[in-house]
């Protein structure tokens, strides 16, 4: 326990978290500080490319572990399954309707890549190794949750006509393609490829992450500010509670499957992070197309304004400590 607290404290005082806090503060104080949309997108492309490439190169270096397929399978199970737990919880803890609850549930089955990236950087700074293919698991977990959410809605509703082109769009969304593509490139070019471009994708990585989290803080803070003042009085207390409890539940499921697959301490921690995190890029866009009746401010506020900071600040140190304790790593 003290261990977790020490970890959390040291985590709290890292440049990464403090940059996020700065963004949050600036937005809540209504500062006009802002990152241009194009710059934010460029930073996210960089992070996806770098994390994918490094994962692939690490797989190339350590050989394809027999557990890769099992880990991807576990990820798929989590992504398909967690929305059902989330949906049930939401229906109990909040007064969200079926559609809003299903839309929120989709976000929690899917993953937040930047939470994953922040976790890998915490692992690195503590010299805890993790399987490189966890990047592939992350990519695999992005989409299935959307299917579960649509099924949850269709069940209670008329048979929702599957929107043509939606599936291609979801499976080929930018972050899945770039993450998987960079992973494959890293696997093909291996350590040699990594050496060639490591002064671009390894050395400045953490600094870029700081700037990106500054931006995430700004966007999350703006969202919280506007939600607070919005017509519906913002999201309710039950929903906020859900946003804090659900990552813990998700992480337990991730823990169980991570241990079952036999991952290392780092791998288990990352599996917990993936299960605990909620999408805020790919799933919201898919929801606007597939479930336009769902209120975007609910799922965006929960995912970006509640669960993301929770995971970043408290969640990651907890998951890492638990994973280390239970794997003996």
């Amino acid at each position: 326990m003290t261990d977790i607290l020490t970890l959390a404290a040291s985590n709290l005082l890292s440049p990464i978290i403090l940059s996020f806090a700065l963004g949050l503060f600036a937005a809540l104080a209504r500062s006009e500080l802002s990152v241009p949309e194009a710059a934010a997108k460029a930073l996210s492309l960089y992070l996806l490319f770098a994390i994918g490439f490094k994962g692939g190169a690490s797989v190339a270096a350590h050989g394809i572990d027999g557990r890769l397929m099992a880990a991807v399978g576990a990820g798929l199970v989590l992504s398909f399954g967690l929305p059902f737990i989330a949906f049930a919880l939401l229906r109990v803890m909040t007064n969200l309707g079926r559609i809003d609850a299903a839309a929120v549930a989709a976000h929690y089955g899917s993953v937040s890549i930047v939470t994953f990236v922040a976790a890998t950087s915490v692992l690195e700074s503590r010299a805890i190794a993790a399987e490189g293919y966890m990047v592939a698991v992350a990519a695999a977990m992005e989409a299935p949750a959307i299917l579960s959410a649509l099924w949850l809605v269709a069940r209670g509703n008329r048979a929702a006509s599957p929107e043509p082109g939606l599936w291609r769009e979801i499976l080929l969304n930018g972050s899945i393609v770039l993450l998987t593509g960079a992973f494959v490139i890293g696997m093909i070019t291996g350590e040699k490829g990594l050496a060639e471009i490591s002064s671009f994708i390894v050395a400045p990585f953490k600094g870029v992450l700081c700037l990106f989290l500054l931006d995430m803080g700004l966007v999350a803070g703006r969202g919280l500010r506007d939600a607070r003042g919005s017509a519906g009085g913002g999201i309710g207390l039950g929903a906020v509670l859900f946003g804090l409890v659900m990552p813990l539940i998700g992480s337990m499921a991730g823990l169980a499957l991570g241990l079952a697959v036999g991952l290392s301490a780092g791998g288990v921690a990352l599996m917990m992070v993936l299960a605990a995190s909620a999408s805020y890029i790919a799933v919201p866009a898919a929801m606007r197309v597939a479930l336009p009746e769902a209120n975007p401010s609910i799922y965006l506020t929960l995912s970006l304004g509640v669960t993301f900071p929770f995971n970043l600040i408290l969640g990651i140190p907890i998951y890492v400590a638990v994973a280390q304790a239970l794997t003996g790593g």
Binding site: S34, V35, P36, E37, A40, K41, S44, G165, D215, M216, L218, V219, R222, D226, S230, A231, Y280, I281, A282, P284, A285, A286, M287, R288, V289, P292, E293, N295, P296, S297, L300
Partner: protein, 103 residues
């Protein structure tokens, strides 16, 4: 100069729907359109801004369409089928165009 009556249709629509809208417009016989970026806005669903955003959700674009008046109705019906369930605003203005053969 010789000009011809036409209609200027301006559709403010959620960015993730852009492709669907333009596909539907093309099917409805529209010969051209122009897509503009939007920085932010406000409406019944609240205030929003693109600053610092990475995902397409939560952003809007404007699609402008110049058409011959007799095609207006089929365009509006096509557009409305997409806009109906979504956040979006449609307005139509009378205008004059050069080179009518293009529309």
């Amino acid at each position: 100069m010789q000009t011809h009556t036409a209609k200027r249709v301006e559709i403010v629509i959620e960015a993730p729907l852009e492709r669907r809208l333009t596909e539907v417009l093309t099917k409805a016989g529209v010969t051209g359109f122009t897509v503009l970026p939007v920085l932010g806005g406000s409406g019944r669903s609240g205030r929003w801004s693109r600053e610092g955003q990475v995902g397409r959700a939560g952003g809007m674009v404007i699609v402008i369409c110049l058409i011959r008046p007799d095609r207006l109705d089929s365009l509006l019906e096509a557009a409305f089928a997409v806009v109906e369930r979504h956040i979006g605003v449609v307005s139509v203005t009378d205008c004059e165009v050069l080179r009518a053969e293009r529309f």
